[in-house]
Amino acid sequence: MSVTVLYFARLREALGVAQELIALPAHPANVAGLLDQLRARGGEWQTALASTQPYRVAVNQDMAEITTPLHDGDEVAIFPPVTGG
């Protein structure tokens, strides 16, 4: 299975990518697993996505938790706390 991952604002700039397709193991996947996989890339990925960093995750355009399950074809967005308004 695979998910599309989008990055926004400061995170997009820090990671140098706006969007990518990521293959995930077929067994039950969730947001935490995806984040582990991304942090395993090391460097800026490890730093910017450290669990102590204040980023947010949305799955299929809804705010998500670390335990939110992922399914094939999901759209996952990772972004800094929002600052509109």
Binding site: L6, F8, A9, R10, P54, A58, Q61, D62, M63, E75, A77, F79, P80, P81, V82, T83, G84, G85
Partner: protein
């Protein structure tokens, strides 16, 4: 209810008049307009770029307005949020809420703004003499949104 995300500016009178046209049951409109300030955290701000997550923005705003409609007896609500490049004094956001009585309009309008500030996927980048910088989320915004969490629905027709 309507939510719009747009680069173009908006005209307050035109929006409010369209919003309440032909609805004589509206007794109160509370509106909020957010504007680009020329200073922030001690730096001169010469401009702002507003990025957003297009697929999610509309959905997030509609969700916030729907939540307000559950909590208060409101007749209609309108949210307009601009994206792209903005200058100091430009309008960024409009939230307008119409109801029969003023208490509901005020509370729903403030609620929508507070939630928008923490839930709607917009990000501001400021242009300053020291270069461009992403605006940091304010802890006070989380506090402002959180205070609605434990609030019982206020009395209707308060």
């Amino acid at each position: 209810m309507a939510v719009r995300v747009q680069e173009a500016d908006f005209d307050l009178s035109a929006e409010i008049n369209a919003f309440r046209a032909g609805r004589p049951e509206i007794g109160a409109v509370a509106a909020f307009v957010g504007l680009v300030r020329d200073v922030n955290l001690g730096s001169t701000v010469s401009g702002l770029t507003l990025e957003h997550y297009p697929a999610m923005t509309q959905k997030a705003l509609l969700g916030i307005v729907a939540e307000a409609e559950q909590r208060w007896e409101i007749i209609d609500a309108l949210v307009i949020h601009r994206v792209g490049r903005l200058q100091p004094m430009d309008q960024i956001v409009l939230v307008a809420v119409a109801s029969a009585h003023r208490g509901e309009a005020f509370h729903a309008c403030e609620f929508i703004m507070d939630y928008l500030k923490t839930q709607a996927p917009f990000w501001k980048q400021e242009q300053t003499p020291e270069g461009a910088r992403w605006v940091e989320a304010k802890e006070s915004d989380n506090g402002a949104a959180a205070r609605w969490e434990n609030l019982l629905t206020t009395n209707k027709h308060e």
